[in-house]
């Protein structure tokens, strides 16, 4: 798309991006992306994982240099070289994780690096800093003691402090990258009130979130990205939830179109393996019911941040529920640690392979033997020969590509690491396998092999809770699909449901 002479931006435009390109070692992350922010609007930036939202923000705030394209702030071409220079220009960002210093006071956090100085002595003028901090927070309708440590306040207040810090400079554009992911409902409402207040002051606000209802609660306009490309810009009124999801996933989804039932439902006479009733954790997951029968594959669908991982963490003893009850084989259980869940025949491949899955410096053999050995305890030791036999059997069965079973697992490719973590759990012969995004970030061939192995095991009677962002995988593999939205259960779909039905449930706000 070549527009040699762009038309003058409509009045009110604060920031305009055109034809933005960005590549990472030859792989395009952004291609011909545009974005236009107007004064006094809240603009939602939407897209699936890997759509390019974060990259766009990082380009805009000077974290990454842009490869090609034009950025104009109030008509003036800009090219921020660093977050600091972006901030000086008037583009401020509040990142997903509150990155402030918990051990400094609120005022220190707000003015860190740009303390007001006394005129002659050049010493920090603490009185002015505290006064300034109070004023900035008052603008957000937050009235707190700014001399107290940041860590003494709840996350929601810390988030406000982060916003106040961003506003401290003469901000024209405020970027919020998933600001609500760690807030509960009341706190989100409070945040939105602040955003509306800032909008009334004429600020342009760019808002990234995965919560659909939040988009419609505050946004005036929506820009959608998909696979690093620009899909379109709409006003929130003209783009309904269904159309928004269509735009995000890249095709029309039609409620009428139904694929034939691919997997028959597991009969009601099959014993219930796991039953959760009203299981929930405050601020993480609204109470939900879940039932899994032996040999059943249950899909857990939802957008990122919809509470999928939280479900798995609660079921596996990684988080403690504060409401509801969990039963395995009809007996109530309380898992204090994953070891308790393992004893009951549960297994879990975590979402974050690097931080929660592999033990990088240990060999493939040790990694595969780890869970089985942990369930056997300290004394019933698997000999090295037994470990080798076990590991070699799984390397062969799952097609793990490694020089030998003694290779440190950290040296394997992502897909092979994932297979090894899967092997670790299959070695314990689990009755219920929780798979959290088992196919993320791995190549297509490995993905197919892993999915096939899951189906084979389910055929042999193992139950599976299958979490994935890839909706086609979920509907293809699952006997039933539980859909989550905004950390609560949105509904359940039977075998043979279509992707569109899942999206429809996700979009229903």
């Amino acid at each position: 798309m070549n527009t040699p002479d762009p038309p003058a931006p409509p009045p009110g435009t604060v920031l305009e991006l055109r034809g933005i390109h960005k590549q990472f070692s030859g792989v395009p992350a952004l291609a011909d992306v545009q974005l236009r922010l107007r004064a006094g609007e809240i603009h939602a930036l939407m897209g699936q994982n890997g759509a390019g939202k974060s990259t766009l923000i990082k380009v805009l705030t000077g974290v990454y240099p842009v490869d090609a394209g034009e950025m104009r702030l109030q008509g003036r071409a800009i090219r921020p070289a660093s977050p600091l220079s972006a901030q000086r220009l008037g583009i401020s960002t509040v990142y997903q994780e509150v990155n402030l210093c918990p051990n400094l006071s609120v005022a220190e956090n707000i003015f860190a690096g740009r303390y007001p100085r006394r005129r002659f002595t050049r010493r920090i003028d603490w009185a002015a800093a505290n006064r300034g901090a109070r004023e900035l927070l008052a603008r957000l309708d937050v009235h707190i003691d700014v001399s107290r440590l940041l860590s003494s306040y709840p996350v929601a207040v810390q988030q406000m402090v982060a916003i106040a810090r961003a506003l401290g400079v003469q901000a024209k554009v405020l970027i919020l990258d998933e600001p609500t992911s760690s807030l509960d409902e009341d706190e989100v409402d409070k945040l939105f009130e602040v955003l509306r207040r800032l909008r009334a002051e004429g600020l342009a606000i760019l808002f990234v979130t995965h919560f659909l209802n939040q988009v419609y609660a505050v946004s005036d306009r929506i820009t959608v990205l998909r696979n690093g490309g620009w899909v379109g810009e709409w006003t929130a009124a003209e783009l309904g939830p269904q159309a928004l999801i269509s735009a995000m996933v890249g095709r029309e989804f039609d409620m009428a179109a139904r694929a034939g039932a691919q997997r028959p439902a597991v009969g009601a006479d099959t014993p219930v393996l796991l039953q959760a009733s009203g299981l929930g954790q405050r601020g993480q997951l609204q109470p939900l019911d879940l039932q899994l029968r032996a040999g059943e594959v249950m899909g857990l669908a939802g957008l990122l941040g919809s509470g999928r991982t939280e479900v798995a963490r609660l079921l596996f003893g990684l988080a403690r529920p504060d409401s509801g009850e969990l039963r395995v084989d009809g007996q109530p259980v309380q898992f204090k640690a994953p070891a308790d869940a393992v004893r009951r025949g549960l297994a879990m491949c975590p979402e974050e392979r690097k931080t929660d899955g592999i033990v990088a410096e240990l060999s493939v053999r040790e990694n595969i033997a780890l869970a089985l050995q942990a369930s056997l305890g300290l004394r019933r030791n698997l000999s090295r020969a037994e470990q080798t036999r076990l590991a070699e059997a799984f390397v062969k069965a799952l097609g793990i590509k490694t020089a030998s079973v003694e290779t440190p697992i950290g040296l394997l490719s992502g897909g092979n690491q994932q297979k090894a973590v899967l092997a670790r759990w299959l070695a314990t012969q689990p009755r219920l396998l929780l798979l959290d995004e088992p196919t993320r970030g791995i190549d297509v061939a490995a993905k197919q092999e892993i999915l096939q192995e899951i189906l084979r095991l389910a055929g042999e009677g193992m139950s599976v809770l299958f979490i994935s962002s890839e909706m086609d995988e979920v509907v293809r593999l699952s006997h039933r699909v539980t859909v989550l939205r905004d950390r609560r259960k949105a509904g359940e779909l039977p075998a043979g449901c279509t992707e569109d039905e899942v999206y429809e449930l996700i979009a229903k706000t």
Binding site: A337, V342, V359, E361, E366, L370, L382, R424
Partner: protein, 354 residues
């Protein structure tokens, strides 16, 4: 360049190569300046010589370093071992009693409580110290250096409370056997250290302890998720470390026939950490080597011996020790060696190693 045979390759890449080289160099240095250094003879019914002496004096450090190795492998550190040494020593000495009992004009061996009880109490107190450290680290989630700092400071106070601020001198001769006696011609303390080493070595190779400790040290989240009872194990490892320190306390107090709450085991924690590091175990946790730590402890003891036997003036001997330790650390650093190789072999760098 001919490529070396596989056996030579294995030796060259063995992780204990550099610790062993260092120890041999230090022994050679001693031997060069002191012709009788390597001489061992049979005298008074036991072996006698500098080497025996070094082994004997290294025993407490070896013990503490062994316990410390496992703590460090879990990504922790225990700087309270010196204080635990003092507590164990004080308790044992106090229970045996610090008064000279004279019967029929000769000193008699009388203890306030049976010696086995004194030893059991000392080791029990050490285990309690380890439990405290372990709970602070694994349950409360304190940083290990802070958690054990508490006992490092408070432990000296506890030891002095036990000794009532005095140095307790022990006159009960059976107690002297632990740190000063000989069995089969060798110092008894050596047997204690050897037994602990053998037990730990068997535990980490023949049970799953080694695998669990390493996985906790490398990736605690993944280990816990895989069902490893990480907290319980961590507490156990701190208890083991304190137990080793307790044994060291018995040996030290028995050897010097007294218990000094203030100075027993002073700075032993630093020597132990140094020994573990010299032995090739990384302070970031994970892979560890018990044998390496033993060699590390022997390096430190040999170095201390060399400084004294070479007649380094006392006012500079700490500086000399520091310089040697610094040099040894550089020698053992793969990065430094690679850098040196680059500087030395620059012209022929094309075919260089790696």
């Amino acid at each position: 360049m001919t490529s070396p045979s596989p056996t030579v390759q294995r030796v060259l890449h063995h992780r204990l190569l550099w610790p062993v080289v260092t120890l041999v160099l230090l022994l050679a240095l001693n031997a060069a300046f002191n012709p009788t250094f390597l001489h061992v003879e049979w005298r008074d019914g036991h072996l006698y010589g500098s080497l025996v002496d070094i082994l004997n004096r290294a025993a407490p450090l070896v013990l503490v370093a062994l316990g410390m190795t496992l703590v460090i492998a879990t990504r922790g550190i225990d700087i309270s071992v010196g204080a635990v040494v003092a507590i164990a020593a004080a308790l044992a000495a106090a229970l045996i009693g610090g008064s000279l009992v004279v019967k029929d004009g000769a000193a008699a061996d009388v203890s306030r409580f049976p010696m086995w009880l004194a030893i059991a109490a000392a080791l029990g107190a050490a285990l309690a110290c380890g439990l405290w450290n372990g709970l602070l680290v694994a349950r409360i989630g304190m940083q290990p250096i802070i958690a054990t700092l508490i006992l490092m400071v408070a432990g000296r106070g506890i030891a002095q409370l036990i000794t009532e601020g005095q140095i307790i001198t022990v006159y009960y001769t059976p107690y002297f056997f632990i740190g000063g006696g000989y069995l089969l011609g060798l110092p008894f303390a050596l047997f204690i250290a050897a037994a602990v080493f053998a037990l730990l070595y068997l535990a980490v190779t023949r049970s799953a302890l080694g695998l669990f400790i390493q996985s906790i040290g490398i990736n605690p989240a993944a280990a816990r998720l895989a069902g490893v009872k990480a907290r319980r194990l961590t507490v156990g490892v701190y208890m083991l470390c304190a137990f080793c320190a307790g044994l060291a306390g018995l040996i030290i107090s028995s050897n010097v026939k007294s218990a000094d709450g203030n100075n027993a085991g002073q700075l032993l924690e630093l020597d132990a950490i140094l020994a573990v590091t010299l032995g090739g175990t990384s302070l970031t946790g994970g892979r560890f080597s018990l044998l390496g730590s033993v060699i590390g402890a022997l390096i430190i003891q040999t170095l201390t011996y060399a400084i004294y036997s070479l007649g380094v003036p006392p006012e500079i001997n700490l500086v000399v020790k520091a310089v040697v330790v610094f040099a040894v650390m550089l020698l053992q650093s793969p990065e430094f060696r690679a850098e040196m190789r680059r500087l030395v072999f620059r012209p022929a760098a094309a075919g260089g190693a790696q």
